[in-house]
Symmetry: C2
Subunit: 65 residues, 2 copies
Amino acid sequence: MQHRFHVEGMTCGHCERAVVNAVRDVDANASVKVDLPTGEVLVDSEQARDALAQAIVEEGFQVAA
Amino acid sequence: MQHRFHVEGMTCGHCERAVVNAVRDVDANASVKVDLPTGEVLVDSEQARDALAQAIVEEGFQVAA
């Protein structure tokens, strides 16, 4: 299932990696694509959207509804 | 010995940590203070200035002369 998130607060490649790692902590097999300039994050995962979003928020980013 | 560097390219706390870790890879006992808004990095270490600067550059940042 593909989930699309708009993530605010990513400023650099380290942030991008932090988001990818947060998603992978929830689902090690998730496919994650991050577009840094726009904040768009596409996640292909069978995990619940809320769990994925929460993991990203716990890294210090904002996830738009 | 205190070394003062002006580091360009740090945008967030992850960057700050990357710089601190780069310095600590050269000198595990170094004291490192980073001021993110100004890019000023103060390192207390007996290691050579060049070695410390090079480690920071290898993380993808610019160190002003």
